[in-house]
Symmetry: C2
Subunit: 242 residues, 2 copies
């Protein structure tokens, strides 16, 4: 189908070996030729061979062991690199009109015993924000978010009627660490009413915690009705980026 013109030597080596593995010709445990053998076979320097093999090891296709050589690994766990979208960008990308309704925005203590505790433990200066996201005028997601005002003081004056808190944050502060949790939940009475569904409608809850260094930035919970939202990932074992 597609033709590769960008055929560098290391890319050719990588592609050849990958083909051998994925076709099953080189089964799991199979010993990949030594670097010096590939060096001769492709008539190139050892550095070039090494780059190709390092790449394959990164992708989880082979395992490299000193003195022993490189061996084909078996992909035992499926990984999915899932893009967790900015809601506004996601809705616009789907061709719908984005709408936002701010329900609440005020300083409040961190609810103790709740899930936000771990990110914002001990933080006094916290902003709580609740809002509804709309796609073509229809409720699309409910969002409940805590923001550490010590980390992002500007957030106190932000206008979340125009820009959603998530969008605002990503353009105002970089994060160094993040956690995502995906779970199916039944919505609370209040949440169900806002989304125009019943409590028995399955929803996808997306929890996101972000840090910058040791400082917690934000904890957000987004609730999507199951029939209006899903997460999707398509990928190949050698292509873990994008």
């Amino acid at each position: 189908m597609s033709v590769k013109l960008n055929t560098t030597i290391q890319e050719k080596i990588r592609a050849d070996i990958e083909k051998n593995i994925l076709s099953g010709r080189w089964p799991p445990g199979f010993k990949v030729p030594f670097e010096h053998e590939l060096e001769k076979q492709y008539d190139c320097s050892r550095m070039t061979v090494s780059k190709a093999l390092v790449e394959l090891a990164r992708a989880g296709l082979i395992q490299r062991r000193r003195r022993a050589g490189s061996f084909v690994e078996f992909p035992r766990v499926h990984f999915a690199l899932i893009g967790i979208p900015d809601i506004e960008a996601d809705i616009v990308a789907r061709g719908a009109k984005y709408g936002l309704k701010l329900l609440m925005q005020r300083r409040r203590p961190v609810p103790s015993g709740k899930r936000g505790e771990r990110v914002l433990a001990g933080v006094k200066n916290v902003l709580g924000v609740c809002c509804l996201h709309f796609a073509d005028g229809r409720p699309f997601a409910y969002e409940d978010r805590l923001i550490n005002l010590d980390a992002v003081p500007d957030a106190a004056d932000a206008d979340f009627n125009r820009t959603s808190p998530g969008t605002w944050l990503t353009s105002h502060i970089p994060w160094t660490e993040a956690e995502h949790r995906i779970v199916a939940v039944n919505p609370s009475q209040k949440c169900a009413a806002l989304l125009g569904i019943t409590r028995s409608t399955a929803c996808l809850a997306l929890e996101r915690r972000t840090w910058r260094g040791n400082q917690g930035i934000t904890f957000a919970t987004q609730i999507y009705p199951g029939d209006r939202f899903d997460l999707f990932a398509r990928f190949a074992p050698s292509d873990r980026t994008k």
Copy 2:
């Protein structure tokens, strides 16, 4: 906290630059020093600098442009590298006892109009398998799977009372492409009864399609009660592997 002893030059360069970016000292759009500048600064060869920068570009922290240089990128989209587990391994890893009950295993036509169609369109020789996964004797997940017997003929004789279809497949055939879809659903009457829940209990549905080349291998739907299962990912922008 942790001390790096494995301090190669390229690792030091990479770590230094990463620290500058994540601390905010080098904001988005900031020009990273040219390769030849870093070469002098660290008193090493250009290849070493290059490896460090390539690594940072892979991680999405910088963007490299010919003639212009390298620039700090802003992490705008949240990605989650989620390990979608083999159910048996996952249950055992949680410290529970794994159990499996085969409910159905027989050849059948691909249900047309259903979600399996795209993977196994036109395939005549299809094996349908339904089973329940247990953790410590309690229903943990319901699985409905179609397997292309043209691609994996051995599956016809496999004993799915002992090994779950997913585990069996990953150890018998490699895949080249996969799709995952994650969505919240209300279970069917039958599924709810098998899992010991009601139809109004929110469940996480994991759909997985895998191919080997152009040939569809399998289409699986796994239903997890929302209160017994979640997907979790923790990561830093520079650490997209594992």
